[in-house]
Subunit: 196 residues, 2 copies
DNA sequence: ACAAAATTTAAACAATTGATTAAAACAAAC
DNA sequence: GTTTGTTTTAATCAATTGTTTAAATTTTGT
């Protein structure tokens, strides 16, 4: 029987453990324990640790792609509004899943295969956001920088949490309000950087 | 005999391997091979893999602190010039050691001990850069954001290299010129973000 | 209710890996 | 040149970990 309850439990558990520890440091025993399931069932339902990992990765990347596509092709919003929405949504997402960016970076660094599954260059090239920025007279170079800088300002404060907390002497609560303030600040900064 | 040639070879090799693979995934056998030295010598000169790691980490963090302090306390430069110099120097450094930021983030995420060795909040608080920004009428909040945003714009394009290359369809050469252009762009962006 | 198939379990295997050991090679002191 | 202490080596240990196996248990089809 495909898609049994056990199979799902394993996949969910693996997703948690892999994102927390990365592929190499995640032990099959951790996954089995997290799923509340016998160790051997991992190899019974999925051929191997690696096969399980690849299935989860592919799904995650595709989900991410779909959510991004939804935002950047929304017919009802301006370019500026799109940026605000993306910043807010991804900061909220990353507050809940702070391990995600470092996990993705680590695992994608040497395997471009996975990344190519989503044909990333197509995503932006054919997007409404792209066209809207074009109409505002932005060059290709400026458009790319705008995306990369937005990503930088959103993601790095999540990745660098312990370093930021140490350097700016922020406790947990101060760090949270700092992130909250960035939801309004980043769109403003992007606008002043690129004269939007 | 302390600081023998072998001891140094091990430390140098370990530094390379740890930064490349992280603590857990770096094998003592990798380090021994990289050093061209018998496996057992690692435990002979350093008590354990962990002791070796801590020694290297502490040294690296202190070196980093010293170089940062030099820049942000330079009496001969304005605040804007300091930012330009820091951006240029760290982008150059990270071009040579692209694994460094993800390594640091990964290893510091759960061990605040190491980070506290450099008393990071003191570094900025007593700096000339801090005073110069103060005199320009910047609030504490703005000063912190300025530092964090500079760090974000510098570091993320290094960490996210494969993702940026995929999304913006840049080959190796295009990526390098992209980084080179950021050395002049980032200071300009920071200025327009914070009205410097 | 029974047989066949699918699922689950405990145990074990084989490879990896940090660390140790005991002997060998080498250097220093006298 | 012998003794003593240091450094290096090869071999081994013990723990960890992905995977397999064979038996036990549960589910399914009739």
């Amino acid at each position: 029987m495909k898609n049994s309850e056990t199979e799902q439990k394993i996949k969910n558990a693996a997703s948690i453990v892999f994102k927390q520890k990365g592929f190499k440091e995640a032990r099959t025993r951790d996954i089995a324990e997290q799923a509340g399931v016998n160790l051997a069932l991992i190899n019974y339902y999925y051929k191997s640790k690696e096969a399980l990992f690849n299935e989860i990765m592919t799904e995650s990347i595709l989900t991410f792609k779909q959510s991004l596509c939804k935002y950047i092709n929304d017919e009802t919003t301006t370019a500026q509004e799109k940026i605000t929405i993306i910043v807010n949504n991804y900061l909220s997402l990353l507050q809940q899943e702070p391990n995600l960016p470092i996990f993705l970076v680590k695992e994608l660094y040497n395997s471009s295969e996975l990344l190519n599954k989503i044909k990333p260059e197509e995503v932006l090239k054919n997007s409404l956001l792209q066209k809207q920025l074009q109409e505002m007279g932005k060059t290709n170079e400026k458009k790319k920088n705008l995306i990369i800088n937005t990503m930088s300002l959103v993601v790095l404060p999540i990745i660098g949490k312990p370093i930021i907390q140490a350097f700016c002497s922020k406790n947990e609560q101060e760090y949270l309000t700092f992130l909250e303030e960035r939801k309004t600040n980043i769109p403003i900064w992007i606008k002043s950087m690129f004269n939007l």
